[in-house]
C-alpha cells in the first residue's frame, strides 16, 4: 500500500513539475478551407491570376490539411490540398479533383546553427503564398503567378543569429515532384533583420528546366527576388516585393519579367485591417500592367472575410469590356471567406 502511494506521489510530482515553455512534440494538424464570390464589372473573368477566376459564381478555393511534428531535432511536414485553388498551384492541366502536395519534407536540426531539409517545399521565392491564410489579399499578384510555387530539393539553413541567416540548396525544376533532367537548380536565400520588426529576404534561383517558364520549351531560368516587410508601428505595416526573371529557351528565344509590388497595410483593430496592393509588372518586350487591390480583412478567430476591389490596367488592350471589345483596363469585386484550423 505504501509503495503504491509512494509511486502515485512520485508520478504526481513528475507530472506537475512546471517548466517555462511547453514544447509540444505532439502531432499538429492545421489547414484551411476557403470559398469566394467574384464579379468582374465587364461580365467576363478578365483578371487572370493564379486562383479565384470564376465569374459571378459562389466558388470554392481549396481544403488544405497539414500535419507537422517535431520530436527532438527531427521534424516533418506533410501538407495536401484539394480543390480549384490547389489545381491552380499544380499548373496547367491539373484536375480540380486531384489532390496535390503543398509540402512534404523532413528536417533535422544538427545544431542551433544548421538545419537540413529535404523533400517538396513551398518556394522560398516571393512574397505571396498558395495558402489563402498566408496572404493579406485574396487575389494574387502577377509576381506570384509567374514565379515558382514549390521547390523540391535539399537545402541547408544556417541561422547565425536572430538577425541573420542564409540558405543554400539544390532543387528540381519548379513545381515538380520528380526532375527528369536531374537536380539542376541552385537556390540561395539571405535573411537580414536590420531592426526589430523588419525582415529582408534576398532570393536567387537558377537552373535548366525541361518546361521552362510554364511553357513546353526547355531552357535555363533565373529569378532574383527581394521580399521584405516592416512593421513600422503597431498598426502600420509596409511590405515590398521586387523580382526579375529571365528564360533562355533551347530555340534561342528569350522571355522574362520584372515586377514591383507594394503592400501598405493598416490594422484598425485586431479584427479589422485595410490594405492596398500596388503592383507594376512587365513582360520582356510585351505588355505591362499596373494593378491596385484594396482589401479589408475582417477576422473573428479562425474565420476571415476579405471584401476586395481590384483594378488592373495595361498598356495594351488585353482585357474585354461588357461588349466583348478589347480594352486596357478591368475591375472586379470579390468576397472571400477563409476558415483556418
Amino acid at each position: 500500500m505504501k509503495k503504491t502511494i509512494l509511486l502515485l506521489t512520485t508520478l504526481c510530482v513528475f507530472a506537475f513539475t512546471v517548466k517555462a515553455q511547453d514544447e509540444d512534440s505532439g502531432l499538429k494538424i492545421s489547414g484551411s478551407v476557403d470559398t469566394y464570390y467574384k464579379y468582374d464589372f465587364s461580365g467576363e473573368p478578365n483578371i487572370e491570376t493564379s486562383f479565384a477566376n470564376e465569374q459571378n459564381s459562389v466558388s470554392i478555393g481549396m481544403i488544405d490539411i497539414a500535419l507537422e511534428q517535431t520530436v527532438g531535432k527531427a521534424s516533418f511536414v506533410g501538407e495536401i490540398a484539394f480543390g480549384p485553388r490547389n489545381a491552380g498551384s499544380a499548373g496547367p492541366g491539373a484536375s480540380v479533383m486531384e489532390p496535390h502536395i503543398q509540402n512534404l519534407y523532413v528536417s533535422y536540426a544538427f545544431s542551433d546553427l544548421l538545419t537540413l531539409s529535404a523533400g517538396y517545399m513551398g518556394t522560398f521565392v516571393g512574397y505571396e503564398v498558395i495558402s489563402p491564410t498566408g496572404n493579406f489579399n485574396y487575389s494574387t499578384s502577377r509576381l506570384f503567378t509567374n514565379g515558382p510555387f514549390q521547390n523540391a530539393g535539399i537545402k541547408a539553413d544556417f541561422t547565425i543569429s536572430d538577425r541573420f541567416a542564409f540558405m543554400v540548396g539544390l532543387f528540381d525544376d519548379w513545381n515538380v515532384y520528380q526532375d527528369f533532367n536531374g537536380v539542376s537548380d541552385f537556390g540561395a536565400q539571405i535573411y537580414v533583420a536590420p531592426v526589430e520588426g523588419w525582415d529582408v529576404y534576398l532570393n536567387f534561383i537558377t537552373g535548366y528546366h525541361t518546361q521552362a517558364f510554364y511553357t513546353d520549351l526547355a531552357g535555363s531560368v533565373t529569378e532574383f527576388d527581394i521580399t521584405t516587410g516592416y512593421q513600422i508601428t503597431d498598426a502600420f505595416y509596409l511590405g515590398l516585393n521586387f523580382a526579375t526573371a529571365s528564360a533562355e529557351f533551347e530555340d534561342d528565344s528569350e522571355d522574362g519579367f520584372t515586377g514591383l509590388a507594394l503592400y501598405p497595410q493598416y490594422a484598425i483593430s485586431d479584427a479589422v485591417a485595410i490594405g492596398l496592393r500596388y503592383e507594376n509588372f512587365s513582360w520582356k518586350d510585351a505588355q505591362s500592367y499596373n494593378s491596385f487591390t484594396l482589401s479589408v480583412p475582417i477576422s473573428s478567430g479562425p474565420l476571415t472575410f476579405i471584401p476586395e476591389f481590384r483594378l488592373d490596367t495595361s498598356d495594351e488592350d488585353v482585357f474585354e469590356d461588357s461588349d466583348l471589345a478589347a480594352t486596357g483596363s478591368a475591375s472586379q469585386v470579390s468576397l472571400a471567406a477563409i476558415y483556418a484550423f
Partner: protein, 196 residues
C-alpha cells in the same frame, strides 16, 4: 446592385452578430495598470543568502535552456531576475496549434525571514503558419497583454488570459515549495560506505 447588397448584409451580420463565448478573465493589476502577480511571503528560519540560493535554483529549473542567458543574480540587491515565456494555442483548433507566446519577467527579492516575487510585463508574441507549414513568431508583432481586444476576438484573447492565470497559479505554488527546499544551516550529507 442586389449582389453588392448581399455582400454588405453578410459583412454586417458577421461584425454585429457575435455570440459571447466566455467569461471575462480578471488578472491582478498594479498601480501602473500592468498585469502583475506580486506577494510578500514570510518564511521563518530562512536567512537571505539561503533564500537567494533557493530563488536562483528555482528559476534555473523553471526557465528553459534558451532563457538561461536572461537569468541574473544580484547579491547586493538580494534579487534574482529572469525572462520566461510559454506558448498559447488557438482555441478550437484540431491539434494544439500555436497562436502565440506569452513573454513575461520574473523577479524574486529576498531579505532575512521573507521574500517577495513579482511576475509582470506580460507580452503576447503573435505566431503564424509559414509557407513551409510550421508555426513561427512574426517579427514585430508583439503587444502588451493589457491591450484591449475587439469584440470579434475577445473569446480568443480571454482564453489566453485564462491560460496566464492558470500558469501563474501553478508557477507560484511551485515557487513557494522550491523557496523552502533548502533550509538555512542545511549541510550536504555524505554517506560513508564501510566496504570501500
Amino acid at each position: 446592385m442586389l449582389k453588392m447588397n448581399v455582400i454588405t448584409l453578410l459583412l454586417y451580420l458577421f461584425v454585429h452578430v457575435q455570440p459571447s463565448f466566455s467569461q471575462e478573465i480578471e488578472l491582478p493589476v498594479d498601480e501602473s495598470g500592468r498585469y502583475t502577480y506580486h506577494e510578500v511571503v514570510d518564511v521563518k528560519n530562512f536567512d537571505s543568502v539561503t533564500l537567494l540560493n533557493n530563488a536562483e535554483n528555482f528559476l534555473k529549473g523553471y526557465i528553459n535552456k534558451k532563457q538561461k542567458k536572461t537569468l541574473h543574480r544580484d547579491d547586493l540587491k538580494g534579487e534574482v531576475t529572469a525572462m520566461s515565456s510559454f506558448q498559447v494555442f488557438k482555441k478550437g483548433s484540431l491539434g494544439k496549434n500555436v497562436d502565440g507566446a506569452i513573454e513575461y519577467s520574473l523577479r524574486i527579492e529576498v531579505k532575512d525571514q521573507k521574500y517577495r516575487y513579482t511576475l509582470t510585463d506580460f507580452y503576447f508574441q503573435e505566431y503564424e503558419r509559414n509557407r513551409y507549414g510550421k508555426f513561427e513568431p512574426i517579427n514585430g508583432k508583439v503587444k502588451p497583454l493589457e491591450t484591449p481586444s475587439s469584440k470579434l476576438n475577445d473569446w480568443q484573447w480571454n482564453d489566453h488570459k485564462k491560460t496566464v492565470q492558470e500558469k501563474m497559479t501553478v508557477l507560484v505554488s511551485q515557487m513557494k515549495v522550491d523557496m523552502m527546499k533548502i533550509k538555512s544551516g542545511d549541510k550536504k550529507k555524505v554517506k560513508v560506505k564501510e566496504d570501500w
